[in-house]
């Protein structure tokens, strides 16, 4: 971190001059398109203009080639004794990733003009894409973990909006709910890491933490916990095992969205985060990451080779490739992890967009029905082939460098241990699954000449991205990594090794050509069936988590209504019972006593009244009797 320049900014107004308009345009258009309707042309060209303006501002404003590290710090709010700041870091990594994001977003927007033509809610689609772009932009620039978390979640929200774009489609709205909830699990990990790191360092600025760590011991327990928590966040966002289940479902969204978000940008947010903060990860965390990466790679490749849906194959391929990037980080090869991130973005976006062409033109996502597509959409097919070659890692592509370099450093460090063998196995599988698609596309089919759309919007992006997958984007020579635009790192790879890997990949391709069973991947085979359903991990989660949670919820609802509220109502009823008893008591016992006395008096009266006969003789008799008694008593 030499020559770092820090700009302490007192207010936003200091940094906002006309050059910053470019940054605000995407956000502005997002707001506009969300609330008002515009014609498709206006929306389309405004979106393109916004991205171009943003990139222009980036160049002008940040002067990336002149100052290597720039920090911008703006006071945000204070709480307790800490000050939370908006901290932005501009450096080479950031600039590279931002360039890639701009390019891919631009290409996807142009392609969407073709793919989403005549779609209802056209402007909403672009609004969400621009929102996503803004959030991703912020995520890349951010140097404060709190800020990163905010953009991390906002990117997830954009993904939710876009996966569920066709919101009357049941499968789409189930998929986006699933994606968000699983991402939330990762976000909890991120939140835990924020709590742990804040507790330890009283700040969440990555730069400040770096500085503090230079003078403190390296084995703080906080660092262990935080690193595992961050890895959980990465697992969810970057769709690694075991939280990978949302990505194949996310293919319900429009294909350009899959290209942008679920291949090139959002899913690599996890990788990017690790690139930024893996400096404090202890070796145990890196080992854990390695396990996750390798399991994801192999599992995803196995799932990919048995799928028949082209988008699902590419989705699993993404999972696998990101595992590859994470693997690179776990063995300490961060520069080439970044390199592979960039090359993967280009070739994966190219693969998705060309798949989009095939899907749109042939109205099917099943690769078995895409035979003959090579003839029908030649430009797309060529672009697909270039991108596929990049995925496999053949020479003349840019990914050749990144892939080889990572493999080489892995084997150089640890020889042919279990991890590396699985790694090579995954390389083989990679070439198999992509070759399957290619051979289907290449197969001849008797079909009438369907007039094909020849639109610039369709062809330009895939051509550009295919070009970007070639070596020329990154190096002057197709075989050796030579510094061209910038220095990413140098690796001298032994030629034998390089040839060995190429042979391995080609073997995979040939296997598909000459072993028909691999091409077909018939579902009647038990293994194929098992793998095709994602090893039933989805169903496993449903039984292990979703169902029990729903049952607990129902139980608690019953408990609340009958027991807790029952007690309250019971107390109230008890009071009413006591009140009734009091009433009964009062009326019958106390009042009864009063009545009893009155009754007694009446009875006495009745008895005495007997003597009042009204007859003289009775009175005479009584008088004499009384007198007799008196005389008796006197004597």
């Amino acid at each position: 971190m030499n020559q770092a320049i820090t700009y302490q900014v007192d207010s936003l107004l200091q940094v906002l001059d006309f050059s910053a308009i470019g940054f605000l345009l995407p956000l502005l258009f997002f707001i506009l398109f969300s609330f008002y309707r515009f014609s498709e042309r206006i929306v389309f060209w405004s979106a393109i203009a916004a991205i171009l303006a943003s990139y222009g501002s980036l160049f002008y404003f940040l002067k990336p080639l002149v100052n290597p590290h720039q920090y911008y710090i703006l006071d945000w709010f204070s709480i307790a004794q800490s000050k939370f700041q908006i901290t932005l870091l501009i450096d080479d990594t950031c600039f590279l990733v931002l360039s890639m994001i701009h390019l891919v977003t631009l290409m996807v927007i142009i392609f969407s003009g073709y793919y989403m033509k005549a779609e209802l809610r056209f402007e909403k689609y672009f609004a969400y894409i621009l929102f996503f772009f803004t959030a991703m932009f912020g995520l890349v620039l951010s140097n404060n973990l709190f800020l990163t978390y905010i953009f991390w979640e906002l990117v997830g929200f954009a993904s939710y909006a876009l996966i569920g774009f066709w919101r009357t489609k049941d499968s789409a709205i189930l998929a986006n709910k699933k994606a968000f909830i699983i991402n939330r699990i990762g976000d909890l990990g991120f939140l835990a890491a924020i709590c742990i790191l804040f507790n330890q360092f009283q700040t969440l600025n990555i730069h400040s933490i770096e500085v503090m760590l230079q003078t403190s011991p390296k084995d703080l327990p906080a660092l262990y916990l935080a690193s595992f928590a961050i890895i959980i966040a990465v697992i969810a966002k970057s769709a690694q095992f075991p939280l990978h289940v949302w990505l194949p479902d996310a293919m319900e969204g429009p294909t350009p969205v899959s290209a942008l978000i679920h291949a090139a940008t959002m899913v690599i947010a996890g990788v990017y985060l690790l690139l930024r903060i893996a400096f404090f990860f202890p070796p145990e965390a890196l080992l854990f990451l390695k396990y996750i990466a390798i399991i994801s790679m192999v599992m995803a490749s196995l799932f990919a080779i048995v799928q028949q849906d082209i988008k699902k194959i590419l989705a699993y391929s993404t999972i696998s490739q990101i595992g590859f990037m994470l693997f690179a980080i776990s063995i300490g090869n961060q520069p080439f992890a970044l390199f592979h991130l960039l090359t993967h973005a280009f070739f994966k976006a190219a693969l998705f967009l060309t798949a989009g062409v095939f899907i749109h033109e042939n109205k099917t996502q099943d690769i078995r029905n895409l035979t003959g597509a090579a003839k029908q959409q030649p430009i797309a097919f060529i672009a697909f082939s270039i991108a596929a070659a990049a995925l496999i890692g053949l020479p003349f592509t840019a990914a050749y460098f990144s892939k080889e370099a990572i493999l080489f450093s892995a084997i150089q460090q640890h020889g042919l241990d279990v991890f590396n063998i699985l790694l090579l196995f995954s390389v083989l599988l990679t070439s198999i699954y992509i070759a399957r698609i290619w051979f289907y596309l290449f197969a001849k089919k008797d079909s009438s000449n369907i007039p094909q759309a020849k639109s610039v919007a369709m062809n330009l992006p895939i051509v550009v991205l295919a070009m970007a997958s070639l070596f020329a984007a990154f190096s002057a020579s197709p075989f050796y990594l030579q510094a061209f635009w910038f220095t990413l790192g140098t690796e001298t790879i032994a030629p034998m090794f390089s040839i060995g890997i190429i042979l391995l990949s080609v073997a995979g391709v040939l296997a598909v050509k000459f072993i028909p069973a691999i091409l077909l991947m018939d579902e009647k085979n038990a293994i194929v069936y098992f793998l095709k359903n994602g090893a039933f991990i989805d169903r496993f989660y449903a039984y292990l988590f979703v169902k029990p949670i729903q049952q607990i919820a129902a139980l608690l609802k019953w408990l609340d209504k009958h027991i807790v509220d029952g007690i309250v109502n019971g107390i109230a009823n008890f009071a009413i019972v006591i009140a009734n008893f009091s009433d009964w008591f009062d009326r019958n016992i106390i009042d009864g006593l009063v009545n009893l006395i009155a009754l007694f008096a009446k009875r006495m009266g009745d008895i005495i009244r007997i003597t009042q006969t009204g007859r003289v003789q009775t009175y005479f008799l009584l008088a004499l009797m009384l007198m007799a008694i008196v005389v008796w008593f006197i004597y």
Partner: protein, 542 residues
Amino acid sequence: MNNWLSVLIFLPIAAALILLLLPKRASNVFRPVTIVISLLQTLIAAYLYTQYLKNPQGYHFVERADWINLNLGTFGRLNIDYFLAVDGLSIGLLLLSAFVMFIAAIASNEIKKDPKAYYTLFLLLSAAIMGVFCALDFFLFYVFYELMLLPMYFLIGMWGGPNREYASIKFFLYTLFGSIFMLLVMIGLYFSVIDPVTGEHTFNMLYMMDAANYTKDSYFSIFSTDALLFNYPVRFFGFIVLFIAFAIKIPTIPLHTWLPDAHVEAPTPVSIILAGVLLKIGGYGIIRICYGIFPEAAIYFSYWIGLIGVISILYGAFIALASTDLKRMIAYSSISHMGFVILGIASLTSEGVNGAIFQMISHGVLSTMLFYLVGVLYLRVQDREIAAFRGLAQPMPRYTLFVVIAFFASLGLPGLSGFIGEAFTLIGAFKSASVNALLPRGFAILASVGILIGAAYFLWTLQRMFFGAPRFKGAQEWHLKLKDLTATEYLVLIPLALITILLGIFPAILFDASNNTINAWVHETWIHGIANLKSMQSLLKF
């Protein structure tokens, strides 16, 4: 002018008196008058807030006058002051209350029956709420606190849904139950505390917070050797009683069962007031009164209070997941969100308590929005069952937009206000384990599970009710009735959405006001609490 707080309190009372004098024929004047009055209150409160921000510490706008001064012969003198003031804790809540009342007044356009009574009670309630947040004399506080109950009883009981009598009397009795015992403790405190200036007993809360003001042999003194149950000192029971009184209001599990019934049966504007303001009084009461007067008990019981908070979060979230009625679901989600408030307070860290206050204000705005949205739907088709709707986004896209904003804000999407409150209560709860060893880390972890369940039920409701192909229980008839938002509804929802976004992006708006006060408060509570605990533990062995 130094009487702003009195103006805030008595303005609605004056307006209510005027309304009472107006004849029934003038019934279409009532609502505009109420809206104007509540708008005035909001503006005054906003002005006070900005004034407070210029020097955000201590008590501002103090008003103090002798109110009741009776010579009771052998019992001494009865001394009740009219003592009002606000600090960082209450100013934000005051502004929130004024604003929520304003929104509720606008939302009262659905009240057709007996408007005179309704708006009079409304204004009375408004005055009482303002009073609760400003009062620093315990008796005055109690008067306003009880004064809130009566209008609410009638508002729910007269204008509510089919089961309204049950709901309103349940609410009334349940809350009254808590506050009756609060009265006992209040009187006990009165006889224990001596005003250092006049030398007489006093209800002044600030004096009650200072242990030096207690007479040596009084009931609630820290040197009292009276001990009740399990040899716990009397002060602990005072705390528990006060805590129960406010816990019923918040509400916490297991004293929460009045809330779902009250919310479901109350009309929309009353639900808004109930959820937006009344629940916060519980939180405010705990911070100001329970923790302020009995800090040692707060420290001693913080584990249990935190546990109650966590249970509230999870329990509320799970039942919301199982709910079939939309309004009931939101009521339980309110319980869940207020659980965060309790957790934040229990952590006794500045981040946690600041987060709790932020969460209270954010939840005030969000629950207003949520209940209003439910009300919009109910107004159209008189049905709130989640299963009765599917694909509402098709006929009502703008409405769905606001629902999405409200739901995502409630589940804690960053960039919206709900996140800041939840994040900082979690940070505070987590920090508590290392800073003051009060709460175990597991609480923060369990609370975050609550966040996850929150995402689950909100998203599931979105998926069931709003997305998908439209299909309604009332079929064709409903298709006609389900029109998108009207102008009044926009007028209500747009400011709420803007505030949510604003608070989410610029949390300093609230933190700047509360931070200093809460820093001082945490410090004081800790110091005094520990000191009191030491004295008490040396006298009574518990």
